[in-house]
Symmetry: C2
Subunit: 272 residues, 2 copies
């Protein structure tokens, strides 16, 4: 059972995990370096725990103690009870969800480990918007993608906003970082995956004709909003696929495009 | 050719169309009542013009005059050149995109008019988030839905944020308001449409089995984020369909779910 510790000094060093949460640049450096990430709100904190991330500490406003009682009873990490004003002083924002937990990261699996049992993998290049990363993980989880591989310059799926937007899906879909881009895609191909690059390019095969749900192993490559996949990434792919567009529209947003593509590679359909 | 008028008084009554743009409640009342909507940024202003919406006026900061020169030359509406500071005083926010246009609304088509030529229609119930409305229109346009029908309590697709998120797709996909909900769905059925209700309910038919791309005419019913379709709407449907979910995830976000469902009803696929 955790200790419940009332803290009323915003400079208390025990609250250091929670300082300056609105400073994206600061947190982006600090969190991986210090091996932590922040889970926000009851649901996400529970999911992080269920996924086996060890808790370093929790920060609660008093009225959340009852709701979180079972977690407080279970964990051994310290639980700091603070006023909403003090939470705001420390974090830099009004903590609507009333509960924050600092969780310890786990070592990421290697690419080989991730690919060993997977059949449908999303490969993201340079997706560095935390909202988009979270949205893509949420769709990947819901639509049955087995894993996600990230190019070295993708944003951190465990950043607070990504975790929140994903509704905790970043905990349930295994992911790994590719080392060397796009060179590392060779190892994905060697593991038996067909590399499909999603692009609006008209020379690409329409998704319905490509029928990727029939392939044994698929790695679906996605680029960032706006830029899309780089030329180097497109060159490294086996096949270009596109979602047919109507009404002269340029493109879907990256979240919608990812969802459609995940559906197309995971879901069989009777003859048309 | 439009007059280019320099204005330096924030209380100039000619700027009234642009006052208080950040006051959602105020604008939500005023814009339909006064028959206007606001297009923001070069691309969206051009698309509104191409879609045949008459311009009432334009508000530009000086450095945007060159970019918008061809539009200024074309329209007869007055164009107000203002400083960025004055634009912010009038609108209530810093106008990053440098150009705003007040456009005149056109009468909405009737439901019958919209249904006459359509084969794939999205029907939204109580989607009152402007971002979601915009995202759904963008996907509907890109994925080839022919029209959108809105329950009486859906938000306004021409609200500034909806227009922006849709990238102007609210101008290219015809839409109409249903009068009486869910009673008005009868008229949709009578027009030859099969009413498919999208729901996570396990009793629903998986989308791939339902194979809605084979149906002659489909009206795909979507509810709001969180709540989903109401019981009354579900009762009024012909068939419940669901997107199969993996990993124990509750649901996709409404934008992702809509995109997948639109793809499923618009896109044929070879035999699996």
């Amino acid at each position: 059972m955790a200790e419940l510790i009332t803290v009323d000094d915003p400079d208390d060093p025990r609250l250091r995990d929670y300082t300056g949460l609105t400073d994206v640049e600061l947190r982006r450096r600090r969190e991986p370096a210090e091996g932590l990430f922040i889970a926000e709100g009851e649901k996400v904190i529970r999911r992080a725990g269920q996924a086996g991330y060890p808790m370093r500490s929790m920060l609660l406003s008093a009225k959340w103690v009852d709701t979180m009682r079972d977690i407080i009873d279970e964990v051994t990490a310290p639980v700091y009870a603070v006023s909403p004003e003090l939470a705001e002083r420390v974090t830099g924002y009004h903590v609507h969800r009333g509960a924050l937990a600092s969780m310890a990261r786990k070592p990421l699996p290697t690419v080989d480990e991730v690919l060993r049992t997977a059949r449908r993998v999303a490969v993201m290049e340079a997706v560095n918007d935390h909202t988009n990363i979270g949205a893509i993980f949420r769709s990947a989880a819901a639509l049955g993608m087995d894993a996600v591989l990230l190019s070295p310059d993708c944003a951190d799926p465990l950043y607070r906003r990504s975790v929140k937007v994903s509704m905790g899906a970043v905990f349930s879909v295994p992911y790994a970082r590719l080392d060397g881009w796009p060179r590392a895609l060779d190892s994905v191909r060697k593991a038996g995956f067909r590399l499909l690059a999603l692009t609006p390019d008209e020379r690409a095969v329409p998704m319905d004709e490509a029928a990727p749900h029939r392939l044994e192993r698929v790695a679906l490559m996605l680029g960032a909003e706006g830029a899309g996949l780089s030329g180097r990434a497109l060159d490294a792919a086996d096949t270009w696929v596109r979602i047919p567009m109507a009404h002269g529209v340029d493109s879907l947003n990256v979240g919608a495009a990812a969802a459609v593509a995940f559906y197309a590679v995971t879901t069989g359909r009777p003859e048309s």
